[in-house]
C-alpha cells in the first residue's frame, strides 16, 4: 500500500508502457515530463535535496522495471540537472560543476554542496524552466525537420531503415522544396518499413522498398543513409532497431555518410559493456520468425528475435539534434551538458 502511494505515478507510467498505451518515444517523453511537473507542483518536498531524492527513487524504480526504455530516465536526469542549476543560480554559488581536473585542483573544503538549503523561489523557477523544457520537447521534432534542407540535396537517393516518425517528418519537409528518391529497407520481421514507405509515398516522394538482404547490392547507388535511433550511448554508439548494424557496415564499405536523427532525450550515459549485457537487448516472441504451427521443428531449434542492435561509433558520421549536427566523438560533451556527473551512474 505504501509503495503504491509513493510511486503511483511512475507505476502507472510503467504499466501504460507495458500495456502499449504509449508507443513512441515522443509520447513517453511528454508523459514523463508531465509526471515530474505534477510531482514538483503537488508533491511533498521542502528543499532541493528532498525533491531530488524523490526523483532519484523514481528513476531507480523505473530502471528496475523497464531498463530498455531510456527516454523517461534521461528526462528525469535532465530535470535533476535543471534543479541543481536553479539552486546554484538561486544562491549564486559556484556549485560543484563538472568533475574535472580543474575542479580537483581548486576545490575548497567549504565547497561541499548538498542542496539542502531552502530556497523559496525554487518551485516557481523550476516550473518556469519545465514549461520551457516542455516547449523544447514538443518542438524538437520540428526543429530537426527544418534542418532537412541542409542535408538533402536535389536528385539524391536516400536510404532509411524501418519506421521512424522523426525521419518521416524530416524527409517530408525536404520533399516540399526538393526532389529526391528514398529507398526504404523493410526491416524484417516486424516489417515497419512497409508503413514508412506508404506514408512517404502519400507525400509524393518516390519510394522503393527493398528486403534486408538487398541492402549491400543497392548501397552503391545511395548518396546518404538517414536513420532514427532508440538510444544514443555514451561513447557515440547507437542502440537501434535490429538490422541497422548491417546497413551501417554496408554504408561504411562504400564510404556513404550515415546521419542519425536523435532527440536530446535519447542521449543516455550508459556504456555497452559486453555483447551479453543484461538489459541491453531483449528478445521478443519467436512467433514473428517461426510460427507456432511449425510442428516438430520447434522442438529442435532455438529461435531468437532480438529487438535491438548495437552500432559502434566509428560507423556513424553525424548526429542531428534540434541544436544542429554533432560528430559522435562529441557526444561526451553533450552528455556533460545534459546531465550532472553524479546522476550519470544511476
Amino acid at each position: 500500500m505504501l509503495e503504491m502511494e509513493l510511486f503511483s505515478d511512475v507505476i502507472k507510467l510503467i504499466s501504460d508502457i507495458r500495456h502499449s498505451k504509449l508507443h513512441n518515444s515522443y509520447d513517453i517523453a511528454i508523459h514523463t515530463e508531465e509526471l515530474v511537473e505534477r510531482l514538483i507542483s503537488e508533491g511533498k518536498w521542502k528543499s532541493a535535496q528532498d525533491l531530488m531524492s524523490l526523483i532519484k527513487l523514481r528513476i531507480a524504480r523505473f530502471i528496475s522495471a523497464l531498463p530498455q526504455e531510456a527516454t523517461p530516465v534521461n528526462i528525469m536526469r535532465h530535470i535533476l540537472k535543471i534543479i541543481r542549476d536553479e539552486y546554484d543560480t538561486g544562491f549564486k554559488s559556484k556549485g560543484e560543476g563538472h568533475q574535472s581536473l580543474h575542479h580537483l585542483v581548486t576545490a575548497n573544503i567549504n565547497d561541499s554542496e548538498d542542496y539542502s538549503k531552502l530556497l523559496p523561489t525554487l518551485k516557481s523557477s523550476l516550473l518556469n524552466n519545465l514549461a520551457e523544457y516542455k516547449v523544447e520537447l514538443e518542438s524538437s521534432m520540428d526543429n530537426i525537420a527544418t534542418q532537412a534542407l541542409e542535408h538533402i540535396h536535389a536528385n539524391e537517393i536516400i536510404l532509411t531503415v524501418g519506421k521512424s516518425n522523426t525521419v518521416e517528418k524530416f524527409l517530408k519537409y525536404a520533399a516540399k522544396s526538393r526532389k529526391f528518391q528514398v529507398i526504404v529497407v523493410e526491416a524484417a520481421p516486424r516489417f515497419h518499413g512497409h508503413l514508412m514507405a506508404s506514408n512517404l509515398a502519400k507525400s509524393n516522394i518516390q519510394t522503393t522498398i527493398i528486403p534486408d538482404s538487398a541492402v549491400f547490392a543497392m548501397m552503391s547507388r545511395v548518396n546518404k543513409v538517414i536513420i532514427g535511433t532508440h538510444t544514443v550511448l555514451a561513447n557515440g554508439g547507437l542502440r537501434t532497431e535490429c538490422g541497422v548494424h548491417m546497413v551501417a557496415l554496408a554504408a561504411k564499405r562504400y564510404s556513404i555518410p550515415i546521419m542519425v536523427l536523435a532527440h536530446m532525450y535519447k542521449l543516455s550515459p550508459m556504456h555497452l559493456c559486453s555483447s551479453e549485457q543484461d538489459a541491453f537487448n531483449i528478445c521478443a516472441s519467436p512467433a514473428d520468425v517461426l510460427p507456432y504451427s511449425s510442428g516438430p521443428l520447434l522442438n529442435k531449434v532455438h529461435v531468437y528475435n532480438p529487438a535491438f542492435d548495437y552500432v559502434p561509433p566509428e560507423l556513424v558520421t553525424l548526429f542531428i539534434s534540434h541544436q544542429g549536427g554533432n560528430a559522435p566523438s562529441y557526444v561526451y560533451r553533450l552528455l556533460s551538458e545534459l546531465y550532472h556527473p553524479d546522476d550519470q551512474e544511476l
Binding site: H19, P67, E276, I282, C283, D288, S293, L298, H302
Partner: protein, 639 residues
C-alpha cells in the same frame, strides 16, 4: 429505440472474466497436497499470477476468481500481490468467490449463475491458463457474431499447432469440424478413446454446403461466453466440464437453440492450459523460449522487477546465483535467486527454484526443482519433479517421471523410478511403501479392467516426457497420416530418380525411332539424363535395355512382340554397342532381360554370349529361366 438504449447500457459495462481456479482432479498429487494448484510455481512464479497478468494485459477490468479449497492461502496471496502493486492490480479488480461445496467445473458455474454477478459477455477461463492474447478485439467480434446469430453461446479460442510438437498434448487431441463462418459443427477430444477411426455424423455434411475439418488445433481452454451460458449450465445438471457443455450443446442444437463458434488466435499470441504434468513441462519450455512475450521471466511477470538475466541458449539466471563453472547451465535453464551450483554439475532443460543448493557432480535433465531444496553430490535427476524443501542425499537417482512432494528426505543412494513420493504416510485406503522416515512411495495398482485402463492411459499420457526418442518414434508412425496437416510445410514425396530416368529414356528412344534420329544424338540424350538424375552406370545399362525391351508396347499395338522388337534392336544396335561393352555391362543387360521376363530368342548372341556364360556360372537363374534355360543352350558357346 430500445436497441440503442441497450447498446449504450452495454458500453458502460466493464469487461469481466471468470476464472475457475479449482482443479477437480488428482494429476498433480502429491505436490497439490500442500499447495493449491493456483499457487504451483511455473518458472518460480505462482500460476495465478500468469493468469491474472494475462487477463489484465488482454484488457479485462474485473475478474471473478472461483475457489473451493485452500481459499485462505489464495486470498492471502492475492492481497499480498495487491500490496506489492503487481502489474495486474493497477488495471483490474479481482474478486475472490468462495464456494466450498462445488465438486466440478459445472457446479462452480451454476453457483456463479445463482450469484448473478455477470451482466454481459464475459471471458471464461478453466484453471491454470497462461497466455498473452489481446482479448478485447475477440470480445468485440463475439459481440458482432451474437448480433447476427441470436443463439451464439460461446466462442472458443483455439491455437494452431503442428503434429508431433511438444505443446500438443496427445490427451487433448482435438478434431473439429466447422462451417466457413466459424460455427462449430463437431468438437471431439480424441485422446482418451483408443479407436483408430472417427465417426462423422452425416447430417453435418448434408446440411452444409462446405465444411472445414481441422486436426491441427489446440484448445487454449479460454472461451468468450454470452450471458446465456450460465443459465444453460444451471438447466442441465449433467454438464460437469466445459467439454460436456460443448458436446451437449452441439448434440442438442435444435432443443437448446444455442450455437458455438470458434476463433483462431493468430500472430504472436499464445494460450495454453496446464492440465497435467506434460502440459506443465511443455508450457514451461514455451515460456523459456519466449512464446509468451511480454510475460517472460526476465521482465518479471507481475512484479515489474527484473529478476533474471536472459543469456544465450535461453538461460535465465538470477543475479546472485553462485556458479563455480561457466558451463554448468547448458540450455533452457532458469535458476532462481540465491541458488548455488557446485563443480562439474550439468543442468539441462530444467527449472531450478530459489535458494536451491546443488552439490558437485550432479546431472539434472528435463526436471523441475522447487525452492529451498538441497541436492547433494553425485545425484542424477531426470524427467522428474522435486517439491519444496526436499533434501536428496548423496548418490540419489530420481528418474522416469517421478514426482516428489514437499519436505521429503531421500536417503543416500536411493533409486526412484516412475514413483510418487510424499513425506508423510498417506491416508488409509491408499497403499504405500515406506522408504525412509520422510519418504513414502504411493503405489497405484495397474489393473487390467477396461475401466481403469482408460485411467491408466490417462495417467501415462499425462506424465512427463519419458524419453525424447520414444516421442520421435511416435512421430514416425503418425507422419504418414500427417501429410495433409502441415499444409505449407510438407514437401511432396521425392519421386524415384531411376523411374524418372527410365521414363525419359523411353521417351527419347520413342522419339528417336519415330523421328529417325541418329543414335549418337540419342546416346547424348541418354547420357545427359543420366547425369541429371545421378544414375549409376549399372542402372544406366539396366534401364536402357529395359527401355528398349518395353518399347514395342509403346510403339506398336497388335503386332507380335518379336516382329516389332527386331527392327528396334537393329535400329538401336549402336546404342547397345555403346553401353554393353564389358562383362559387367552384359550382366546388367541380362538382369534387365530377366526382369522383363519375355520369351524370345537372341538374334545376335555374339553380343551376349560371354555375358550369358558368366551369368550361368554365377548361378543367376530364376525359376522361370530354368524353363527357358534349355532354349539358350544352342546359343551358349561351350568352351
Amino acid at each position: 429505440m430500445s436497441q440503442k438504449l441497450d447498446k449504450n447500457v452495454t458500453q458502460k459495462e466493464v469487461v469481466q472474466a471468470v476464472v475457475v481456479a479449482e482443479h477437480f482432479g488428482n494429476e498433480f498429487v502429491p505436490i497439490t497436497d500442500d499447495t493449491p494448484l493456483s499457487l504451483l510455481p511455473l518458472l518460480n512464479v505462482p500460476l495465478i499470477e500468469y493468469t491474472l497478468e494475462f487477463l489484465s494485459l488482454g484488457g479485462i477490468e474485473e475478474t471473478f476468481l472461483f475457489c473451493c479449497s485452500n481459499v485462505d492461502v489464495i486470498k492471502q496471496h492475492i492481497n499480498k500481490s495487491i500490496e506489492k502493486s503487481a502489474g495486474w492490480s493497477l488495471t483490474m479488480k479481482v474478486h475472490v468467490i468462495i464456494s466450498e461445496s462445488c465438486r466440478s467445473f459445472g457446479d462452480c458455474l451454476r453457483d456463479l449463475d445463482a450469484k448473478a454477478f455477470i451482466r454481459s459477455d464475459f471471458v471464461l477461463l478453466e484453471p491454470e491458463i497462461v497466455g498473452n492474447i489481446k482479448l478485447l478485439p475477440i470480445i468485440k467480434k463475439h459481440n458482432e457474431v451474437c448480433k447476427s446469430d441470436k443463439g451464439a453461446a460461446m466462442t472458443l479460442l483455439l491455437q494452431e499447432t503442428g503434429l508431433g510438437q511438444r505443446g500438443r498434448c496427445s490427451f487433448e487431441e482435438l478434431l473439429m469440424v466447422s462451417t466457413p463462418s466459424n460455427r462449430v459443427l463437431l468438437h471431439q477430444k480424441l485422446g482418451t478413446s483408443k479407436k483408430a477411426k472417427i465417426e462423422l455424423p452425416l447430417e453435418i455434411l448434408m446440411d452444409n454446403s462446405s465444411v472445414n475439418i481441422y486436426h491441427n488445433l489446440k484448445d487454449t481452454h479460454i472461451a468468450i461466453c454470452s450471458p446465456s451460458v450460465l443459465p444453460l449450465f444451471s438447466d442441465n445438471f449433467d454438464f460437469q466440464t466445459k467439454d460436456d457443455f460443448v458436446r451437449g450443446l452441439l448434440m442438442n442444437e435444435e432443443i437448446l437453440g444455442s450455437t458455438i463458434y470458434w476463433h483462431l488466435i493468430k500472430g504472436n499470441q499464445y494460450g495454453a492450459a496446464i492440465t497435467n504434468w506434460r502440459m506443465y513441462q511443455s508450457v514451461s519450455r514455451d515460456i523459456l523460449h519466449r512464446w509468451l512475450y511480454p510475460l517472460v521471466p526476465d521482465m518479471g511477470i507481475s512484479s515489474q522487477q527484473r529478476s533474471y538475466i536472459h543469456l544465450q541458449n535461453n538461460i535465465y539466471r538470477s543475479k546472485d546465483v553462485h556458479l563455480t563453472q561457466s558451463n554448468s547451465l547448458v540450455e533452457d535453464v532458469i535458476i532462481g535467486a540465491s541458488s548455488s551450483v557446485g563443480d562439474k554439475t550439468k543442468i539441462i532443460r530444467s527449472i531450478i527454484g530459489e535458494s536451491v543448493k546443488i552439490g558437485e557432480n550432479v546431472i539434472i535433465e528435463d526436471s523441475f526443482i522447487f525452492s529451498s531444496t538441497v541436492v547433494h553430490n553425485n545425484s542424477v535427476i531426470k524427467q522428474s519433479v522435486i517439491g519444496q524443501k526436499c533434501a536428496l542425499e548423496t548418490g540419489c537417482i530420481v528418474t522416469k517421471a517421478s514426482v516428489i512432494g514437499k519436505s521429503v528426505v531421500l536417503p543416500e543412494n536411493s533409486l526412484i523410478e516412475n514413483s510418487l513420493i510424499q513425506s508423510y504416510p498417506p491416508k488409509s485406503g491408499v497403499t504405500s511403501e515406506k522408504l525412509a522416515k520422510n519418504a513414502y512411495r504411493i503405489c497405484h495398482e495397474e489393473t487390467a479392467d477396461s475401466a481403469d485402463e482408460e485411467d491408466g492411459l490417462h495417467r501415462k499420457l499425462s506424465r512427463l516426457y519419458m524419453h525424447e526418442e520414444s516421442e520421435s518414434s511416435d512421430d514416425e508412425s503418425i507422419k504418414s497420416s500427417d501429410s495433409e496437416d502441415n499444409l505449407s510445410y510438407t514437401i511432396s514425396p521425392v519421386p524415384d530418380d531411376t523411374n524418372l530416368f527410365l521414363t525419359e529414356v523411353i521417351d527419347s528412344l520413342t522419339r528417336g525411332f519415330e523421328d529417325k534420329l541418329q543414335c549418337d544424338n540419342l546416346i547424348l540424350e541418354i547420357n545427359s539424363s543420366r547425369y541429371a538424375y545421378n544414375v549409376t552406370v549399372k542402372e544406366v545399362n539396366f534401364n536402357v535395355i529395359k527401355a528398349i525391351l518395353t518399347l514395342p508396347f509403346q510403339l506398336y499395338l497388335g503386332q507380335p512382340y518379336l516382329s516389332s522388337l527386331r527392327p528396334l534392336l537393329e535400329y538401336f544396335s549402336p546404342i547397345l554397342k555403346n553401353y554393353i561393352r564389358n562383362v559387367s555391362a552384359m550382366v546388367d543387360c541380362l538382369q534387365a532381360i530377366e526382369v522383363c521376363r519375355y520369351f524370345f530368342y537372341f538374334l545376335s548372341c555374339s553380343i551376349l554370349g560371354d555375358g550369358l556364360d558368366y551369368w550361368i556360372t554365377m548361378g543367376g537363374w530364376s525359376e522361370v529361366h530354368a524353363h527357358i534355360g534349355h532354349l539358350f543352350e544352342p546359343f551358349v558357346l561351350h568352351p
